[in-house]
Symmetry: C2
Subunit: 598 residues, 2 copies
């Protein structure tokens, strides 16, 4: 759920802003947009692409700077308003809330009529740029990013090797996947599709990499043709001989600078480009070359989201192993109050996961928040904010791991004791739990999307005027991104139907600023529901995550009989899955915390 | 829920089709589209506009004919497939399912390359025509409908007078409404908006009419300018002196044929037109005149849907009175088995409503279905289908009325007795009821749309593999259309947020073809929820409809304590609202059927 990144970029300065302004003047631009984005529009960007941080000092995972000759502003969302104020120099930067004061409106107000405002078309989707056009702004795509021209010591692109992801984990060979994607192109009379999401390439070619933190893919671009042949644009030194052999002859490996030529060769053809997920640069180059650009979803997105049987079983296995580390951690937490901090707790969990077979790293930076820090939804503990875990407060830990056979993501909220928690807290935890159970037990027909079921996770909170300000769930990859599209459980998202094989998080919460945060998260696997007599296909969720919910925080009087049964049954399964892998004392603890509530 | 119409058009024939083909040839057209639509794209059309029926014989409320020189087809949806087959001549017409074989695909298959296929731009929205363009078809708008040229005895337009709708019912004077709409145009820098929905005009000018069945509006068009001045295009003989005085000097009344001139006067201006709700003709004329067309919702839609305090109270009053007729009917139904038919029952309910003060007519044709006929979702009883109401079966009645102070719509499903109903039926009714209660008791924050809550009405059915094939609810007007936009409770609809003052139906169902149909419908008024401590505005539903649910069909073992309490509380209120207005025997009956279930 969080996504800052460890960076080596030195502190920002006024000199950088001045240098950029001089370069803009040289290029005849009156202004320029600097987003927090790389050429893949990904969540985690390599240092090389963290232009926003280099220029402004702001290190949040979402933001945009707008630079004019006379003024400049940085925009971010509610999560990062405080951080933005701390990290940027008010003498250089106006600081703005990106939804309250959208950049397009700010630009319209402050740009002179006819001003030439540039943007790097590799860092914006066509949809994103279209939103500026909707406000009557006409922006100018630049050929080369003027910021790069003045960033003397810009880090080199990462060069981690792309390595084979064995069939024992991938479940389906790349040739079959490429045929499947090509068939989808043929059905839409498209000659090719551009793929700019490295996770899609990782899935399609059954390769994994290590170019950015937390998500094990290799940065690159790809064109897949209707005959299932592929052109992979990736620095040749990143593709060792074994990987070349693994991906086979139907995939040519070319340097990234061969891309314009490859796009030009699509002249006169219908080419699919994802208007929301791919940089505008691709559609612009294709149109300039005389190709017909068809807006359509990245053709790997849906097949990647529908996990095959091997991936499903891999995820079950990964979760069962992850659960051992999580349960050992939760037991360890019982004596943390007064002795541990948010950082030492997160380190402990990481160390325990390090003992788990096939562990490859965290799937995102753990959110480890005690007491009031738990109320900061995207909290990232730092030495400055690190808080001692005290007695009689809540502790929220949202964390996940990458295993070769699957990606995990779990949140638990525990009471540090020794006193009994306050009734209000227990009531609110219980309402969050009711929402969690409502999603976990839902049965629904094919065609229903996450936007249609999100409210089930909230109804018990809504009933008493409470809510939480984030989506209920996101898609999760198979040893890939922990935040994977196109499906989510959120009213804000496009209503893409949930399908069998998709993995989604179920993480309702409640946050009382300055006091505590509650979030209860398991991952779910959508599976076919076998319902006698049903006249159409139905789906249900299989729970993948196994760890007890803190019974001290549950008010059983607020639960229905069916909800109580669900918890008791769930805890019983936790015992079955995890128990055999725990040592003596941990084992006894698990028995106690998983005993029936009723 | 149904919407056929009583028509006086004589039976269709091959001569008509031949005449149309000759006219198309004269006009140089290779084909022509004939939709079931009038110039307002409304649900009920005057006989003059029922071109589809005149041409094909098909009288369903949704359909489209495509006529080529050598072949012709009629398309309709699943509701009307049987009716289409019965009413059209297979020697003349291919009969097609409109979603399985969309007309655009059929045309693409059968039209010669470069064929000139005409359509009447007064009968299609830009969005609807755009869907043909998406399939690569380029259709030709005609200046005058060629079918009208060959329909010698086409009925004249209806000429019922437009009459004032008093402030005691409307609640807000027209000048204030016009100012409010004009302010919305100014906020979007629009000079004017075109309003083509007669219900919007009725709301804006506080007038009502009688041009089509079931919906009390006067057919016309309107342009509202940013200074709140209006041009109403309506035959002058439909606007009596008293109505002219009522609507005031800021509204000029012009004949319908003055419209092209009025649109031409908008040259150079930004004009809002509803791309989904208005005929394409308006945007085409405006663009031809050099106006800038801005796609946007009919500016009366949202304010009309947000009922003011007078309208809310009017609706409460109308429903309380309507409930007396409905309860008297339900009591009468207790002895209907073996003695009544679907038609005589519907007539009885209509007669009872006729005794209710301020009754103005039905709000739609009642659906009166016994036994298997109840499973036909849009069933319209006819002398041919009329079924005797038998013992030990279900009877479903979906009906509503127009009162000067409000519009009603209620469905009840009853058991005709005397035996105990089968367990499976009771279980299914109870699951439908659980869905009904889930919607009725929902509390939700502002911003939530019907698409986000529809699933609550279905979850109990889904759990056992059941569902129903229609939306859960539609908006309802205030002595206006019983199907009013823009809000509904449906996953298929655009997610327009529910707001306080909106009236929505809550009508989950279940249908077992050939056996029985279940639907339980009340109308709900969205109101502000007063929740102590809530940090944002929440809404809840106030129930408007008062009539008992058949207790014989409820399996209390499937209900939670909270659901049982809701029913008992609801029945208690029915007794309170209706009881004082019933006579002796009816009164005793009401006491019995409203007694606590628990």
């Amino acid at each position: 759920m969080s996504n800052n990144e460890v960076s080596t970029i030195p502190a920002a300065s006024g000199e950088r802003l001045a240098a950029l302004r001089a370069e803009l003047a040289r290029q005849g631009l009156d202004g320029f947009l600097v987003p927090r984005a790389d050429e893949h529009l990904g969540e985690y960007v390599p240092d090389r692409a963290d232009r926003l941080r280099w220029l402004t000092g702001f290190s949040g995972s979402a933001g945009l700077a707008v630079v004019f000759a006379g003024r400049a502003a940085v925009f971010t969302d509610g999560r990062y308003v405080l951080q933005l104020a701390e990290q940027t120099d008010p003498a250089l930067w106006e600081r703005r809330h990106i939804t309250d004061e959208p950049p397009a409106a700010w630009i319209a107000e402050h740009a002179a009529p006819g001003a030439r405002i540039g943007y790097d078309p590799l860092l914006f989707s066509e949809e994103a740029i279209g939103r500026y056009a909707d406000k009557g702004l006409s922006l100018v795509p630049v050929e080369a990013n003027p910021l790069d021209a003045v960033w003397a010591d810009q880090p080199a692109p990462p060069m981690a090797p792309a390595l084979p992801h064995p069939l024992a984990f991938a479940g389906l060979d790349s040739a079959r996947k490429r045929e499947q994607v090509a068939a989808a192109l043929v059905a839409e009379r498209q000659a090719a599709a551009v793929v700019t999401d490295p996770a899609s390439i990782a899935w399609l070619l059954n390769i994994r990499g290590d170019d950015v933190p937390f998500t094990p893919f290799a940065l690159g671009f790809l064109i897949i043709h209707a005959d299932a042949g592929c052109e992979l644009f990736m620095a040749p030194q990143k593709v060792p001989e074994a990987t070349r052999a693994w991906i086979g002859n139907a995939v040519s490996v070319q340097d990234r600078n061969a891309m314009p030529g490859a796009l030009a060769r699509l002249k006169g053809k219908r080419v699919r480009v994802d208007a929301a997920g791919s940089p505008a640069w691709f559609a612009q180059k294709l149109r300039a070359a005389g190709a017909e650009v068809v807006a359509g979803m990245d053709p790997c997105m849906l097949p990647k989201a529908r996990k095959n049987e091997v991936e499903r079983q891999g995820s079950r296995n990964a979760h069962a192993r992850d659960a051992v580390a999580v349960c050992r951690f939760l037991r360890w937490m019982e004596s943390a109050a007064g002795r541990q901090t948010e950082i030492s707790a997160a380190e402990k969990l990481l160390a325990l996961r390090g003992e788990v077979p096939l562990f490859r790293g965290e799937s995102f930076p753990a959110i480890s928040g005690s007491g009031p820090n738990g109320a900061i939804i995207h909290y990232r503990v730092s030495p400055e904010t690190n808080r001692a875990i005290g007695e009689n407060e809540t502790y929220l830990i949202d964390s996940g791991a990458q295993y070769t056979d699957g990606t995990t993501d779990i949140t638990r909220t525990v009471w540090t004791g020794p006193a009994t928690p306050p009734d209000e807290l227990r009531a609110r935890v219980t309402r969050v739990l009711k929402g969690h159970i409502a999603i976990a037990t839902l049965v629904f027909p094919k065609g229903v999307a996450g936007a249609h079921i999100d409210a089930f996770a909230r109804a018990a909170l809504w009933q008493v005027g409470l809510d939480y300000d984030h989506g209920t769930g996101h898609g999760v990859g198979s040893y890939l991104s922990v935040h994977e599209g196109p499906v989510s459980i959120s009213r804000a998202a496009r209503p893409v139907p949930i399908e069998a094989g998709m993995i989604l998080s179920n993480e309702p919460g409640y946050y009382l600023p300055g006091a505590y945060g509650i979030r209860l998260e398991n991952l779910l696997l959508a599976t076919e529901a076998e319902l006698p007599g049903a006249l159409k296909p139905f789906l249900r969720f299989e729970t993948l995550t196994w760890a007890p919910f803190d019974r001290r925080l549950i008010d059983t009087t607020l639960l229905t009989r069916a909800e109580l049964d669900w918890i008791d049954d769930y805890h019983d399964q936790v015992r079955t899955v995890v128990g055999p892998h725990l040592d003596g004392q941990d084992c006894g603890w698990l028995e106690a915390v998983c005993a029936p509530l009723a």
